[in-house]
């Protein structure tokens, strides 16, 4: 680990010691590779992503592999989560008949995003994998491919074009302008915002938690202990808040996914 990535709590640097406060920044999200396999470097976020994947598969395997008519505890929890996404998100937005096909994808997306977010508060891990832009972007691109191909499949080339551009004759003169904006908004901006919304929320959340954590350590000297206590309380509050944001962001991510799919399947008006 190079010196510029060293954080304040990794040193004995405290206030009143003539030692400057090293605020967390972009460097807090860059990790040195821990080891490489076949030229590919594994660093902490990548490892967390892989372990998270195993955790999700393990949980649902334990819950759903041998399901019983009268569920056990684990199965009950799994069913509650599954039912929440299936009924509360997919059926609500796409509808039961057409939505059934997309339930596995949306359920997988929700739990994947949520667990990757959850790493943020797991001791020793304490880093949300989704604050590495690659992860949300990969998911958003996948969703993008799904709904765009669905639009072509459902409406044909011309229909899909109309769908993307919000073609509506009644707009008259402004129609070309609207079409350009809509086209740009739907096909270029949308996948980007879809990914950034999740990334930025987790990034900012993690930044806040790290900031208060570092500040707590840094101010732990002399009279600074009082400030340190305040900062510690803020750390706890921010972690609790993060727990909430993690679920909300995972929910929003799949809700948008369903909305895009629903838009792709909708009849032109």
């Amino acid at each position: 680990m190079s010196a510029d990535q060293m954080l304040a709590f990794e040193t004995d640097c405290h206030i009143f010691d003539g030692c400057g406060f090293e605020a967390p920044g972009l460097h807090s999200f860059v990790f040195e590779p821990m080891f490489s396999i076949g030229g590919f470097d594994f660093n902490k976020p990548i490892l967390l992503a892989l372990v998270g994947t195993l955790v999700i598969v393990w949980f649902f395997w334990a819950a759903f592999n041998k399901p019983k008519l009268v569920p056990g505890k684990l199965q009950m929890v799994g069913e509650a989560g599954y039912d929440f996404i299936r009924r509360g998100v997919v059926y609500e937005t796409i509808g039961k008949k057409e939505g059934e096909k997309y339930v596995p994808m949306v359920v997988a997306l929700f739990f994947f995003v949520w667990v990757m977010n959850l790493w943020s508060v797991i001791p020793l891990a304490q880093f949300p994998v989704t604050s590495i832009f690659s992860i949300p972007l990969a998911l958003a691109l996948m969703v993008y491919v799904v709904w765009v191909s669905l639009t072509f499949k459902r409406h044909g080339f011309v229909g899909a074009f109309k769908n993307f551009t919000g073609y509506d004759k009644s707009l008259g003169g402004v129609l070309p302008l609207v079409m350009v904006i809509e086209f740009f908004s739907n096909l270029v901006i949308r996948p980007f915002t879809h990914a950034v919304r999740l990334f930025a929320n987790m990034f900012a959340g993690h930044m806040l938690v790290v900031l208060f954590t570092i500040a707590t350590w840094y101010m732990l000297n002399g009279i600074g202990i009082a400030y340190s206590a305040v900062s510690f309380v803020m750390t706890v509050v921010m972690i609790a808040f993060e727990l909430f944001i993690q679920v909300i962001q995972a929910y929003v991510f799949v809700l948008l996914t369903c909305t895009y799919i629903q838009g792709a399947l909708a009849e032109e008006h």
Binding site: S2, A3, D4, G20, E22, G25, L26, H27, F29, V30, F40, D41, P45, I46, A49, L50, G52, T53, I56, V57, F60, W61, A63, F64, N65, K66, P67, K68, L69, Q75, G78, E79, Y82, V103, P104, M105, V107, A108, L109, F111, F112, I132, F133, S134, I135, L137, A138, L139, L141, M142, V196, F199, F203
Partner: protein
Amino acid sequence: MIALVHMAETEVPQNPLVPPIPELVIGLIAFAIVFFFLWKKLLPSINKVLDERREAIEGGIEKADAAQQEAAEVLQQYKDQLAEARHEAARLRADAQEQGAALIAEMRAEGQRQREEIIAAGHAQIEADRKQAAQTLRQDVGQLATELAGKLVGESLEEHARQSRTIDRFLDELEAKADSTAGSDGAESGASR
């Protein structure tokens, strides 16, 4: 200041919005693993059980409905039977009362009849006895009178009397008188009874 200088000297961290391709691929693979297991294996498995459970619950409700209906039917049957039994009992009681009344009436009529028979027989017997007594009396009186007259007259009038039937005529007149008084008495006594 030291930190800032430090930062400036080393390379600036990469723009966070420019993702390294390997990470992108790892992200997709990780998601694909989760998706594959849920899609191919685990969600179908839980869906099957959820459907089975729904059926079991619906079946249970249907069974309960059937049982309730049956219970209602049996209750209705019992009520019908009970009502029928009550009706039957009432009918039997009425019949018994009727029969009893009829029996009593019959017995009474029979008793009446027998009593009347006995009375009639008594009357007949009395009449027969009276007639016999009257007959005997008439003969005895005739004989005694004739004898007495013969003694008084000094000769036997028996032959004459028998021929002339004087005594008989006299006695018949007496009898007729007695009968008329006795008949009116008998009629009065019959009415009073």
